[in-house]
């Protein structure tokens, strides 16, 4: 028999899973390793060399408090989770240090999965409002950057409200905004 079962759940507390792409906040630099907060019970470790094009001489310019988008290499309940910013072929494929501007906020895990679904309506409708950059972490963290502070705030508030809004309410809200 066989077959995969997908159980959908609703929660806000993240548990690290191998292969998940998450946004981490750098809390410490210890020797050869960065310590990142990913929202789990333990901090994840990220090696200096796990970036694209990083060598012992050419270290990435990462400070405490910066945002990193990476994936879990090791994540189980017995060990400290480990992250990397390169995939198996050594390319970064979008991972690495996230830019200085923009805003980070937290939503529930269910909403993230909804947004990551292919052809997500919410993202398509929002992209017709203003251009913006968006990074979604499976740990519930979203990073947004738009041209102005006002636009960024609007996108943040709409994404947070999408948790509880029906599609109709969302369309109405966006219609009002694009009318302005």
């Amino acid at each position: 028999a066989g077959g995969a079962y997908w159980v959908d759940s609703q929660q806000k507390r993240y548990v690290p899973v191998k292969g998940d792409h998450v946004i981490g906040i750098v809390t410490a630099k210890a020797g050869d390793v960065f310590k990142l907060d990913v929202g789990g019970s333990e901090q994840a470790s990220l090696s200096y060399l796990a970036f694209e094009g990083a060598t012992k001489r050419n270290r990435p310019n990462v400070q405490v408090g910066d945002l990193i988008y990476g994936q879990f290499l090791v994540a189980n309940k017995d060990m400290e989770p480990e992250m990397v910013c390169i995939d198996s072929s050594g390319r970064s494929s979008g991972m690495g240090l996230i830019g200085q501007d923009g805003f980070l906020f937290k939503v529930s895990l269910g909403l993230i999965r909804k947004l990551l679904a292919p052809k997500c309506e919410i993202i398509q409708e929002l992209s017709q409002l203003y251009p913006f950059e968006l990074v979604l972490g499976m740990n519930g963290r979203i990073w947004v950057k738009a041209k102005t502070v006002q636009q960024t705030l609007i996108i943040v508030n709409i994404l947070e409200a999408c948790e509880y809004m029906t599609a109709e309410q969302r369309k109405q809200a966006l219609a009002k905004l694009s009318g302005n």
Binding site: T27, D37, G65, L67, I98, G99, G102, W143, V149, L153
Partner: protein
């Protein structure tokens, strides 16, 4: 757990937003978040929600001997606790700076302002007085704990009823709530704290900071005032240097805010009183709404139905006629009919053992027998004659060849409903031919 660190980009963004006079939730600089007060079933129990910050307050009383240096006064005891469910950084049993500061503020606001008449709490001087205990629990931390806590505290104290007491000479009688209605505390005024967060060395000022704003602020000024514009306590923390004008401006803003909040409190207390008197339902089960993500509650909106008919007719005339729908089933053989087009079997290659095959045969025969019964119920006009030897392909599945069981006889004229028991006995007379492609063979 360790508290979530604040990232650099959040800090930068928040400070930029504040410079542009924008707040995360769209408020103005001097706006408060929504204050919601709900009462529990017991007297003296309430929950105050200031935006998403939630504080639970409970007042209780006990008869104790008074303090030796104050024999004619009752005792007040205040306790604020930061529950670990409020924020990941809060741990039980750890006395943090924040906790000490908040407790001190609550004490100064409620005790030193003498808002509660402690002399009225005395029953027998030097022997028995009431000890009133106020417990505040923080349930969710989204900034500005002190404001929410002070509102919850004073509301709970106003809501509380203590047992009635009568003293006759040496005898003291404490009546139960059933014997005599409990009596409210004697409260002179309602002090309420208002917080001001300062940014960029005092240039920018925000009232009622949220949790993110509190993380990036330089310092905070808390002013406790009542509606008579009397300042009960004032505290500035964070080491910011404040100018006289700023402090005066803050106190003016406080007066306005306190007036609004006091009015809200009065209304809430009156509402609760009315509901209890009229015998209606009260308590948290009624006042705190069920917040379900899956339950979308939409308020009914009035719909203008004046030209609905015209619109509907317009739509109908403009629409294309519906595609032909085949309502009659196609009868392959007596016993099996097909309605619509079948789709491929999407269960994948099912490997079956010998035992399962037998069960499946039974299952399939039952299924076709049921279809036969369905067929009997429908009045079919056309009957397709098929050769018995030919296998009839029903589904497009490449994995199996499904062969339809052929009954030997079909009573066409009698329309009596065959019972399921009859079906099973006639099954045994069926010829079964089954061919199955098996990967193993």
């Amino acid at each position: 757990m360790k508290a979530t660190p604040l990232s650099n980009c959040e800090r930068r963004f928040l400070l930029r937003a504040i410079q542009e006079r924008k707040r995360l939730d769209g408020r103005q600089c001097y706006d408060y978040r929504n204050v919601r007060i709900s009462f529990g079933a017991d007297y003296g129990c309430c929950i105050v929600e200031l935006g998403k910050t939630r504080v639970l307050a409970q007042v209780s009383c006990e008869l104790v001997p008074p303090k030796p240096n104050r024999p004619t006064e009752g005792i007040l005891f205040f306790n604020l606790e930061l529950s670990p469910m409020a924020a990941p950084g809060f741990e039980p049993g750890r006395q943090s700076d924040l906790l000490v500061r908040l407790n001190r503020l609550i004490e100064r606001c409620l005790r030193n302002s003498k808002c509660i008449d402690t002399e009225s709490l005395c029953i027998v001087a030097g022997e028995k007085v009431w000890q009133i205990r106020l417990d505040l629990h923080l349930l969710n931390h989204d900034g500005n704990i002190i404001d929410a806590a002070s509102i919850a505290g004073i509301v709970a104290l106003c809501h509380f009823r203590r047992p009635d007491v009568s003293v006759q000479g040496e005898e003291v009688t404490v009546y139960t709530p059933e014997e005599r209605d409990p009596v409210p505390l004697s409260i002179h005024h309602m002090p309420i704290c208002v917080s001001f967060a300062f940014f960029q060395q005092g240039i920018y000022l925000l009232v009622d900071p949220s949790e993110r704003e509190e993380r990036v602020m330089d310092g905070v000024l808390v002013i406790a005032m009542n509606k008579h514009r009397e300042i009960c306590t004032m505290q500035s923390s964070g080491g910011i240097m404040l100018v006289k004008d700023q402090v005066l401006r803050c106190s003016k803003i406080t007066a306005v805010k306190v007036a609004e909040i006091t009015e809200l409190i009065q209304k809430a207390l009156e509402n609760d009183q009315k509901v209890r008197k009229e015998g209606g339902k009260f308590g948290f089960a009624e006042s705190i709404p069920n917040q379900k993500i899956t339950a979308f509650k939409m308020e009914s909106a009035a719909v203008d139905t004046n030209d609905v008919e015209e619109q509907a007719e317009e739509i109908i005339t403009k629409a294309e006629p519906p595609s032909e729908v085949f309502t009659t089933p196609i009868l392959h053989t007596p016993g099996t009919a097909q309605i619509g087009e079948g789709i491929e079997n999407s269960w994948g290659d099912l490997e079956e053992s010998e035992g399962e095959e037998a069960a499946e045969e039974e299952g399939e025969s039952e299924a076709t027998a049921f279809e036969w019964q369905k067929m009997e119920a429908e009045d079919t006009s056309t009957v397709v004659e098929t050769k018995r030897d030919e296998p009839i392909v029903v589904s497009d599945s490449e994995e199996e060849e499904v062969v339809i069981l052929e009954p030997q006889e079909l009573p066409r004229k009698t329309r009596a409903q065959t019972t399921p028991k009859q079906e099973t006995t006639t099954k045994k007379a069926f010829n079964k031919r089954r061919k199955k492609k098996r990967a193993a063979h």
